[in-house]
């Protein structure tokens, strides 16, 4: 029942919010419900694998199965942390029809939980699409100037990708022994190598678009830039993880032969993407676009690590799924505070934040350092493991991917320098600093960064069962 409440709580809150017109109350309800979800998610540390299973459509042989192992748990935890954090941090932002805005965000949360918990192919597809719909409305209604066209591109792009996945699911369903959609039956589906490659390709397109992997990334920087920042946070902290999750949960166990056959190609593509995105990030002036491109690079690295298929790299990815989410969340929040209070995202117009708002500047520097995986921060552990795996896979690839760390240092420190140091610019002078709630959230996030950077043991334990399943058969 606990797993069902991860779906029911957000949906209940979302429906409730449709009827609460008062902004303050609406905000409170959203924070309370998502906070309660977080409390529930914290319990996950103490549980072994848990399942929930009832029949859904008997004639199609689908079941409503929720299943949480380490991989699901860590992403559930990330989702559960992100939403209350976002609600608190953006409490003072101006959104017209705030209750609808919050309600749509909570629907997204339910969809994300569903994606991470689904143990049945058709159900997985349902939730996969379900996350997209509220995001479409959120970005198109509350986004920036060019929001409608850009969100539409994003929507059609990802929708097409997931339709390919649907074709893949149908195809697998035809080839399972019992014509069901269970992940277990999918794993034991009777496929020739050729058929494996076909199905692999169909699934992979959907995941690659979602991540986004070069060359499917064109929707992402625009979409991040035009979305309201609260939504960008959800998209970059949690939603992009759907692609990586899909690879770990579905692609890797389902099509082992096809997976091993494509490791080289995908790793090379990922590394091209990493370098490409990093170089573009260096040239960005818009701070949101900079983080967007940096996110492509980080996700690319995680994807490359996945496709090395080494135990150590995947251990790193499992950790990094969580750490990257926290770091990016922190970065976006600082950026959002700056943008809300100064009205600009251009780094040229910033400067002197350290003198004007020391606390905010320290937090910015902290998350920026975590973004470039400095030792003592959470990303260091993950990225170190990932690079070790990449090195085992192919030293040259590791070297090329390693360039991304240098490049990340360049663009991130450049950003820090432009924003935090120098004389106080006109725009920065107007900044008030974060309100109490936002500040508290930022500090908590930063503590998570430090603690998991020094003592990642609990997270390793949480995901150890997934690793065992993937490598010890």
């Amino acid at each position: 029942m606990m797993l069902v409440s991860f779906l029911l709580l957000p949906i209940l809150a979302a429906i409730l919010l449709l009827f609460i017109k008062n902004n303050k109350t609406a905000q409170l309800v959203a924070i309370l419900f998502s906070g309660f979800t977080l409390l529930l998610a914290m319990q996950m540390f103490s549980f072994q694998m848990i399942d929930f299973d009832i029949a859904w459509l008997p004639n199609l042989n689908t079941r409503f199965i929720l299943h949480a192992d380490g991989l699901s748990k860590i992403l559930i935890l990330l989702t559960a942390i992100s939403f209350p954090a976002i609600f608190i941090a953006t409490a003072n932002n101006e959104y017209k029809n705030r209750n609808i805005f919050l309600s749509l965000l909570l629907f997204t949360q339910a969809g994300l939980m569903g994606v991470f918990l689904a143990g049945d192919g058709l159900m997985f597809y349902f939730f996969w699409e379900f996350t997209l719909l509220p995001i479409y409305f959120l970005c198109s209604i509350w986004g920036g100037e060019k929001r409608i066209a850009i969100t539409f591109k994003f929507f059609i792009y990802t929708f097409l990708g997931s339709l390919f996945m649907l074709a893949g699911i149908l195809f697998l369903n035809e080839h399972t022994g019992d014509h069901s959609f269970l992940i277990f039956s999918f794993i034991h589906a009777n496929l020739t190598n050729g058929q494996q490659v076909t199905a692999f390709a169909l699934f992979f397109i959907a995941f690659a678009i979602k991540m986004p992997l070069f060359p499917f990334h064109t929707w992402q920087p625009d979409a991040y830039e035009q979305s309201p920042t609260a939504v960008t946070m959800v998209m970059s902290a949690v939603m992009v993880k759907m692609g990586l999750y899909g690879i770990l949960r579905w692609l890797m166990p389902l099509f082992p032969v096809a997976f091993m056959a494509h490791t080289q190609v995908v790793v090379v593509l990922s590394i091209i993407g990493i370098l490409y995105a990093s170089f573009i990030a260096i040239r960005q002036d818009d701070i949101k676009r900079l983080i967007a491109y940096s996110s492509i690079a980080h996700i690319g690295l995680m994807n490359a690590a996945l496709f090395t298929h080494t135990q150590i790299a995947i251990q790193g990815v499992l950790l990094q799924l969580f750490s990257h989410g926290i770091n990016v969340l922190g970065l976006w929040m600082v950026v959002d505070i700056i943008e809300q209070q100064t009205g600009t995202r251009s780094m040229q117009e910033m400067g002197g934040l350290a003198k004007k708002q020391p606390t905010l500047a320290i937090l910015l520097v902290g998350f920026a350092l975590a973004n470039i995986a400095l030792p003592l921060t959470n990303s260091f552990v993950g990225e170190f493991l990932m690079f070790t795996g990449l090195f085992q896979f192919n030293p040259w690839m590791a070297a090329l991917a390693g360039l991304s760390v240098v490049l990340a240092a360049i663009y991130t420190l450049n950003m820090v320098q432009k924003v935090a140091y120098g004389g106080i610019s006109e725009k920065i002078n107007t900044i008030q600093g974060p309100n109490k709630g936002a500040q508290a959230v930022l500090i908590i996030l930063f503590l998570i960064v430090l603690v998991t950077g020094v003592y990642p043991e609990p997270l390793f334990n949480l995901t150890s069962d997934t690793l065992q399943q993937l490598f010890i058969k």
Binding site: L57, P58, N59, L60, Y125, F126, E129, F130, L133, F137, S140, I141, R147, I148, F152, F155, I156, F159, L160, L163, F164, L166, A167, L170, F171, N173, E174, T198
Partner: protein
């Protein structure tokens, strides 16, 4: 048999209603009661209780599938009349005439779901079509309506000619109008007979495509749908079309399976061109009504998959598709009749002015586009599944899927206008009850989007 006789009787009764009863509301209620009686009569037959039972010498056979299709199409007509009764009343000062035409159409539908003989197919199609010609021209003072009716009539007669020619050829080859006869002839007959049979089949195939507006035989559709009064377009594009498909399946799927080799390639071509032409042309329409006309062609492309299917699941697929597509289309047309103009701009800012209406419209559009959690998803899902089960290549599924993604583009234009574009919607005042009716349809679609088996289970009772 019950349905055929009762619908005819009701049609005649309705016809005389226009003499005695002048109040249109009463006329509508009589029609609704008539429809309920019709449904009960048909359900009675499904449970083995025949009120009328004549020996048709095997010209009509009643299957569970056919009877259930009857029930569903009658129920859809009920929904249609319930939604659109007031709109029908505006066209003429007596709507009883139209209702009687509807009952005659339903009579044609009952024949089409049960024929086992090519002559009955012909008769059924004619009973279905002739009232449709009249409905198209119902708006007597409007030139477009007249033009559309004439066009529809001429094209329809032309296709009927082709149908008859096909039937003649088949008769020539087999010496029988019975659907089961050709299979004997194909295995034992002379080469000449087989050629004649194939030619007849192809002509039959073309004529049926004409009736369900599949490309490249779709040219009449946009003009007729555009010219006809919007309420009647809604009926033509949904219930009448679904009946055409069921007849199509009755001919080609259940009886002529053994001859599949002579039309599968042709069918693939028709399927693909229907999807292509319907979807691509719909992209460029400025008028919502015309867009919906083309989108109905595109949806027909999906419905053709059931013909390819030839399995139990394709029967499920066509019923689910017909119901879900009809509900969504009836809904969207019911919104459209209330708009002052048919352009996309008319929908601007609708979400702000009428949130419930906009929500319902969104659900209808989602369903047409096949987005999960609406009935449209499972309809498309069953079709694709039927296609794969029939051994069609995966590429066909992928092509279909790409077209489904393209269709998002034109359906979402309305959503964009409603939610993201500011403006005053040019909409006629709405009675409160009307909104709730639309909402009911939307909720129906959402329920079917999670539990499609609520509808399909009855196929097996």
């Amino acid at each position: 048999m019950n349905a055929i006789i009762v619908s005819t009787l009701l049609g005649v009764i309705m016809m005389f209603c226009s003499w005695g009863i002048k109040n249109q509301r009463v006329q509508k209620n009589i029609a609704l009661i008539g429809l309920i009686i019709l449904i009960i009569a048909n359900l009675a037959q499904s449970n083995g209780w025949y009120v009328f039972n004549y020996d048709t010498k095997g010209m009509l056979t009643y299957t569970t599938f056919g009877l259930y299709a009857n029930t569903l199409l009658f129920a859809l007509t009920l929904i249609y009349v319930w939604m659109n009764g007031d709109e029908i009343a505006k066209i003429n000062n007596s709507s009883a005439d139209f209702y009687s035409l509807f009952f005659f159409i339903l009579c044609g539908i009952s024949v089409l779901t049960s024929f086992d003989n090519l002559l009955m197919l012909f008769i059924g199609i004619e009973i279905l079509s002739i009232p449709l010609y009249i409905l198209t021209g119902a708006d007597k003072k409007n030139m477009f309506s007249n033009e559309a009716a004439l066009k529809y009539f001429l094209m329809g007669s032309f296709s009927t000619g082709i149908l008859l020619l096909g039937i003649t050829f088949i008769y020539g080859a087999t010496g029988s109008f019975h659907l089961t006869a050709p299979i004997l002839s194909i295995t034992t007959g002379l080469a000449q007979e087989q050629i004649l049979l194939s030619a007849g089949l192809i002509l039959l195939f073309v004529a049926m495509n004409f009736k369900v507006s599949a490309a490249p035989f779709h040219f009449w559709t946009p003009d007729v749908y555009d010219g006809a009064p919007t309420v009647f377009t809604s009926f033509m594009a949904t219930i009448a079309k679904a009946a055409g498909f069921i007849a199509f399946i009755n001919v080609f799927n259940t009886q002529y399976k053994a001859l599949a080799y002579s039309w599968t390639l042709l069918l693939t071509f028709v399927m693909l061109s229907t999807l292509l032409i319907g979807n691509i042309t719909a992209l460029f329409q400025r008028s919502v009504k015309r867009m919906l006309a083309y989108s109905s062609i595109a949806q027909a492309g999906f419905m053709l998959f059931a013909l390819y299917g030839q399995s139990a699941i394709s029967n499920e697929a066509i019923l689910l598709y017909a119901v879900v597509y009809s509900i969504a289309t009836i809904g969207i047309f019911a919104v459209l009749v209330k708009m002052k103009e048919n352009s996309f701009e008319a929908f601007n800012g609708l979400a702000k002015a009428h949130p419930l209406l906009a929500f319902a419209t969104t659900v209808f559009l989602f369903s047409l586009a096949g987005i999960p959690f609406t009935g449209g998803f499972f309809a498309k899902y069953y079709m694709l599944s039927a296609l794969l089960k029939a051994g069609a290549g995966l590429w066909l599924v992928l092509v279909a899927v790409v077209f489904a993604a393209i269709s998002i583009y034109y359906y979402f234009k309305i959503i964009q206008a409603m939610y993201f574009t500011a403006g005053e919607p040019s909409i006629n005042p709405l009675p409160k009850q009307y909104k709730y009716q639309l909402l009911t349809l939307a909720i129906l679609l959402l329920i079917l989007g999670v539990f499609p088996n609520l509808l399909l289970n009855y196929l097996y009772f």
